[in-house]
């Protein structure tokens, strides 16, 4: 029982990371109907940048802020250069481009910082509470708090600000939004920018645990894809719930199903994706889409 609760706590913390990356994926998907495979690697590049700034002696907070600004700019630039010209193209074209971006950003990190792993400073403070034998670390709690803050911020942004309303409109009705004077391309670019920041946050949360390396985000992006598929590609709450479910399922599967163990953890998100596609293809919170004619 104790082990079960412990694994659920660990799973929720990991799930918070997947959820923040899944939020980024959902943001991009809502804005532009694109699944950005490269989201994790873009976040990775920014995390490397933050690490480099810290290594150069920049204070932690300032380095993170600078890297966050850079991640926003990166999202906007990638959208403007690589995605906007093919926005109307078929799904497979865009998947190929995103795969190219994925390979490119990973290679860029490898080229600049080499294949060795780097220790990333723990962003969250270190405490351990023990409640009835269950270890609760501050970094686990912190991840959930970061996720809540991100989610609340995003909800406020979309609900109560004019720009947020514009972004929702641009995502829902691209052509009609133009008619009422919304700068649709700018809104879509902003969606990509915000997603870039979310991806960066996910990378920073992951980095102290997995150590910074060019292939760090590969498994995380697969969990995040599973989370977004599970929750529904159009729903931000879905991404969060999906992320937490994937995290807990991974943690429980790895410790309670002997065949899976630590080596085959990746099977869990895959099984969840397959299950979701079979039973409820639009995801838990998703709305079934109708084919566009």
């Amino acid at each position: 029982m104790q082990l079960l609760v412990q694994q659920i706590v660990e799973g929720l913390a990991a799930g918070a990371i997947y959820a923040s990356l899944a939020l980024a994926l959902v943001l991009v998907h809502r804005a532009t109907r694109i699944v950005n495979f490269a989201q994790g690697e873009m976040g990775l590049l920014c995390a490397y940048l933050a690490w480099q700034l810290i290594a150069w002696g920049v204070p932690l907070i300032l380095a993170l802020l600078l890297a966050a600004v850079f991640s926003f700019a990166l999202g906007v630039v990638v959208f403007k250069c690589c995605i906007r010209p093919v926005l109307a193209a078929s799904a497979e074209t865009i998947v190929v481009i995103c795969t190219g971006l994925f390979l490119g950003f990973e290679a860029l990190c490898l080229l600049i910082w080499g294949p060795d792993t780097q220790a990333f400073p723990e962003v969250l403070p270190r405490f351990v509470w023990t409640i009835q034998g269950v270890r609760l670390t501050s970094s686990n709690v912190g991840m959930l708090i970061v996720l809540s803050v991100l989610a609340a911020g995003l909800a406020t942004w979309f609900k109560f600000t004019r720009v947020g309303l514009g972004m929702r409109a641009a995502a829902a009705e691209r052509d009609n939004s133009l008619l009422v004077g919304i700068d649709v391309p700018a809104m879509l670019a902003m969606g990509w920018g915000i997603a870039g920041v979310f991806g960066f946050v996910a990378a920073v949360l992951v980095a102290p645990h997995l150590l910074l390396s060019p292939t760090m985000m590969l498994s995380v992006i697969i969990y995040a894809l599973a989370a977004a598929t599970l929750g529904g590609w159009d729903s931000a709450p879905g991404a969060i719930v999906g992320g937490l479910i994937v995290g807990v399922a991974e943690s429980l599967g790895a410790s309670f199903i002997p065949f899976i163990g630590a080596e085959l953890k990746l099977v869990v998100p895959f099984a969840l994706i397959t299950l979701a596609l079979l039973i409820r293809p639009q995801g838990i919170f998703g709305v079934a889409t109708r084919a566009r004619v």
């Binding site: 799904a91 497979e92 190929v96 190219g100 971006l101 390979l103 290679a107 998100p269 895959f270 293809p281």
Partner: protein, 340 residues
């Protein structure tokens, strides 16, 4: 109009004939001129080309994207290796068995994924590609884990003048030729027409009585068969399989090869295969990251600028060269780069 169509057909036929001649010429000259290791590398490239052919069928002709071509390649490779080492089935007879096994696997994977559009397929297949290497490690009672399976490469028959490397090369050439012929027949027939119809406009295709799910599944299964066949051939040519040969990057490499060569062309699969075999070799001497960077630039750049890869560029160059002599062809037939 009719004359123009005839001329266009003639142009295409000439291109096909030229490719055929080039193919025969290369097939004969390569083992005579090049050193042994290069011949081996080209054999491997040919097995990759078979998998890429399958991907072209799926991606270029049916408009579906799979990131799991490497998975079927791996399954084919392991199936051949296991059959050769554990049973008395002759090595070459394992290849059709590989194709059947991967076809069944493709059917099982395709059913959940194909009910939806390309995106979900891409995600599911990417997940599949990611779990295969750890799965191969885990199932060590049959795959021998990280140490892999060594198998005897097929020996040349007594009448064959060359050594074993050249015999394997000949087998790869023959295997690739069979696949090209199958692909060619498939695409020229009803199957190919329905594949393309589904790609171009699913609604209209459905209105013409094409069962979308059935056609998509058929394309997926066929492409999996190609990959399995290629993988089996790879195992025979390489004489060794291990999880190391079938990382996620293999599936991505196949995608790169397909895009670089041209996703709708048969010739493109071979250009793409040579690209993904030799470019990392050369680029790796400068930096291990360079190859991936070149891949990235090719994927993004070609998709933005030249969707039909090298073959597309060659075709448009040829069209430009011949435009002065057969001007009406350009006028009567709007350039349709998607047509095979």
């Amino acid at each position: 109009m009719i004359a123009a169509g005839k001329l266009a057909a003639l142009g295409r036929r000439e291109l096909g004939l030229a490719s055929l001649l080039l193919w025969i010429l290369c097939a004969i000259l390569i083992p005579l001129i090049l050193p042994g290791f290069l011949v081996y590398q080209i054999s491997v490239a040919l097995t990759y080309a078979i998998a890429i052919l399958g991907l072209n069928l799926l991606l270029g002709c049916n408009g579906q994207i799979s990131m799991a071509q490497g998975v079927f390649f791996a399954v084919g490779g392991y199936a051949s290796a296991i059959l050769v080492t554990h049973t008395s089935i002759p090595a070459l007879a394992t290849l059709p068995i590989d194709a059947v096994i991967t076809g069944v696997l493709g059917f099982l994977v395709g059913i959940p994924a194909l009910r939806l559009q390309g995106l979900q397929l891409a995600i599911t297949t990417l997940g599949l590609a990611a779990i295969v290497p750890p799965l191969a490690l885990k199932l060590d009672w049959i795959t021998h884990g990280a140490s892999g399976i060594s198998l005897d490469k097929p020996d040349p028959p007594r009448w064959f003048p060359g050594n074993q490397d050249i015999w394997i090369y000949v087998l790869c050439v023959l295997g690739a030729t069979i696949c090209v012929v199958v692909m060619h027949r498939l695409l020229r027939g009803d199957a190919g027409r329905s594949f393309r119809a589904v790609r171009d406009n699913a609604l209209i295709a459905a209105a013409h009585g094409i069962d979308l799910t059935k056609v998509r599944l058929a394309a997926f299964v066929t492409s999996a068969c190609f990959a399995g066949f290629g993988g089996g051939l790879f195992a025979l040519a390489n004489g060794y399989v291990s999880p190391e040969s079938f990382q996620v990057t293999l599936s991505l490499n196949f995608l790169v090869g397909a895009v670089v060569g041209g996703i709708t062309s048969i010739q493109g699969a071979f250009i793409g295969a040579l690209f993904v075999v030799f470019v990392p070799d050369w680029a790796g001497e400068v930096s291990p990251a360079l190859a991936a960077l070149i891949y990235a630039v090719c994927l993004v750049g070609l998709m933005l600028v030249a969707r039909d890869g090298v073959v597309g560029i060659v075709r448009s160059l040829l069209a430009r060269l011949t435009r002065t002599t057969i001007r009406e062809r350009a006028r009567a037939l709007p350039a349709n780069p998607n047509e095979l």
